[in-house]
Amino acid sequence: MRSQLAYCLLVILSFCSCRKDDKSVFDLSPDERINQALSKYQAALTAAPNGWEARITTGTGSIFNFHFKFNDGNRVVTYADIDTTSSGTSRESSYRLKALQQPSLIFDTYTYLHMLADPDGTVNGGDNGAGLQSDFEFAIDTVTADSIKLTGRYNKTKVTLYKATPTQEAAWQNGDWRKALNFQYLGRILQYFKRLSWGANAYDITFNNQQRTIIFAWVDNSGNPHRVTAHFYYTSQGLFLVTPFTDGAVTITSLNSGSWNAGSNTLQVQVNGATQGAIAGAIRPARIDLQAPRRWWQFAGQQDSYWASNNGFHVNGVDDAFHVRSIENFAFLIFWPAYGRQSGIIYDLLGYIIVKPDALSLDFGSAYIPPTFTTDGRIIFREFGTLGDVPPAATAAFESTNTQMTEARGYYLVQTGATTYDMVSAKDALAWITWEY
């Protein structure tokens, strides 16, 4: 009985297993259908006579605009608002459509788009090994007549290409975008203070073109310092703040760039598209934080501790102008208020911290008599003497730093965070040092 059942089963199996109808539910093979989809996308890409506009938000949160024009020969012409070159001069590179896990658009040789993804931090201001976390290999999500939705395959950047109008394309070709990028020239202002002024208003700004941020700094009527960081993006007119900046009755939503005056290092701007204003270097803050020097000095002094600086002085656009970092085994500089007492004077110390095999060591430094706090918000250091023995190889860095410290006009202090200050030369604002607690 059992064997009969087994035979029945065998019979059923052998008949069922031989179903020969293997017709696909589709007319074409998967390969053919993939190729069909790719050629459909290819046709869509090249069917934009004025190219495509794209806005990319990188993984680091910066917003960039691009203009792409694809042709049938695997070539794409690109503009980008990354810098004055990329916004004014087009660059041709190659692209192709390929079926990876999804049909994908690959920008397969270097163009402006790759600058955002470049793992070399000097290219885009991002971290080495990661860049700004952007993409140049995109999966194609949706294609409509006017737009193509893409998702980056590595960093998952979302990008939508919109078919450009003739006006939009012209804005790249005739230099409107290039002019918007005039803000990049603010980097040529060597003074610490870059003042945005219009009408009766003035703010000190810190402009970061690579990270697409502006920091507005001001002191209110009660003397309290404020700092606000605003993200921005460019348009062909100028820059727009992602979140408008407000201070009481003052609101800034956009800054349209005018011409850059290379002689006076001044950029003409229109605030909110209407009011004429300017951004220029200044040798003192728009409004001085009068209490800052004392606050800075006392903060460390009361805790019997010190402020530290990794890079020494920045002078005339050069970081570590006196090469303190080149001192052998240099770790960092410290400023220690009321460090010690000698001959009845409680002196401050600018110390050089050196790495020793088993510890950090304060080997030598410049001593200053107690500083003068002026009523107009400056701090002035005067030399008291030298502590310890300065190694011969470090003498140049030591002397230059000491000369800079004892600058007769003294320094303004700008509070940049809860425990960070910038100390800026009051003589010309061309020299400054950053202190961290």
Partner: protein, 309 residues
């Protein structure tokens, strides 16, 4: 009863045989392979050839059967690294430098046939460096004597380019170091060097080489820290550094060894070891491949100097 049982057994066997036949024959399907000359593939692997494609075809593919992939293909590269493709304007300068320094000199010393037979057949070019988690960067890799990946093409600058600075010469030398190194592997994988080579530094090879500085490696009789990783690497590091630094550069390196290594090797012993290795390399090239190593070295160094000085 016995007969009945026998009959049943017989029947069983017959039935099973019939089913087997059915199973074997029933499934015969005439499965047409279709037009095998026209398999569509997934697309995207061909493009309109441009000047770079034509240059590669004429200068490398036709004479030496070398393919160069300069367009982005993630599948050729590490999937966990941020990398970018090369700038188009860098590709021909890099490849023609490779041709001048590596291919032409070997051809001049060993002949066309030698090069056509042994050269790696596939180059992949990458624009940026490959950043390792420990903060170092990778400049080149090679696999199986066939595929070589070259990085940092976007920083490749040689004498005559507008933004060339002397510090760029390091990138140029590293490029050729990589290629000569990998080509050295191909040579010894075809004909192995004498076992005497492995005896020179026996017991000093270590997987801890990456924690050793080049200076300390020199003091132990190795030409570089990486040479300490294995005898094969030692052998090809000797070849590549001797070729890229030239005779004077190598002599200078050997003669400047001072002090005693942490392993207790004195400077004289270290110098002697490097000279022994040099002799084996030179003899290997002469006996195995009929190449005068010193001539090849002079030519290679001169071609590199022409690019950087």
């Amino acid at each position: 009863m016995m007969t009945l049982k026998d009959n049943t057994q017989m029947k069983h066997i017959l039935l099973a045989g019939a089913f087997l036949l059915c199973l074997l024959t029933a499934c015969k399907k005439d499965d047409d392979l279709g037009d095998i000359d026209n398999i569509p593939g997934l697309g995207g692997d061909t493009w309109t050839p441009g000047p770079i494609d034509n240059w590669i075809k004429d200068s490398l593919t036709v004479p030496y059967n070398i393919a160069v992939k300069y367009k982005w293909d993630q599948g050729e590269l590490e999937l966990n690294r941020t990398l970018v493709p090369p700038k188009e304007e860098k590709i021909i300068p890099v490849l023609s430098s490779i041709k001048k320094v590596w291919i032409s000199n070997y051809v001049a010393e060993a002949g066309e046939i030698f090069m056509k037979r042994l050269c790696p057949k596939f180059f992949v070019l990458v624009g940026s460096a490959s950043y390792n988690p420990d903060g170092t960067i990778t400049l080149g890799t090679a696999e199986g004597g066939r595929r070589i990946v070259l990085y940092v093409l976007n920083d490749f600058r040689i004498k005559g380019m507008s933004d060339y600075t002397p510090s760029d010469s390091n990138n140029v030398k590293m490029l050729f170091h990589t290629i000569e190194h990998e080509f050295g592997h191909i040579l010894h994988q075809n004909v192995l060097y004498t076992p005497d080579f492995k005896r020179i530094s026996v017991g000093r090879y270590t997987s801890n080489w990456n924690n050793v500085s080049d200076e300390t490696a020199h003091q132990d009789g190795f030409i570089s820290a990486y040479a300490m990783s294995a005898p094969d690497e030692d052998f090809v590091e000797m070849i590549s550094i001797m070729l890229t630094e030239g005779k004077a550069g190598f002599d200078n390196l050997v003669n400047s060894i001072t002090g005693t290594s942490p392993n207790g090797t004195t400077a004289d012993v270290a110098k002697d070891k490097l000279r022994q290795k040099e002799t084996i390399v030179v003899n290997y090239f002469n006996d195995t491949w009929h190449i005068n190593f010193y001539n090849l070295q002079a030519r290679t160094r001169a071609s590199i100097v022409a690019l950087i000085k």
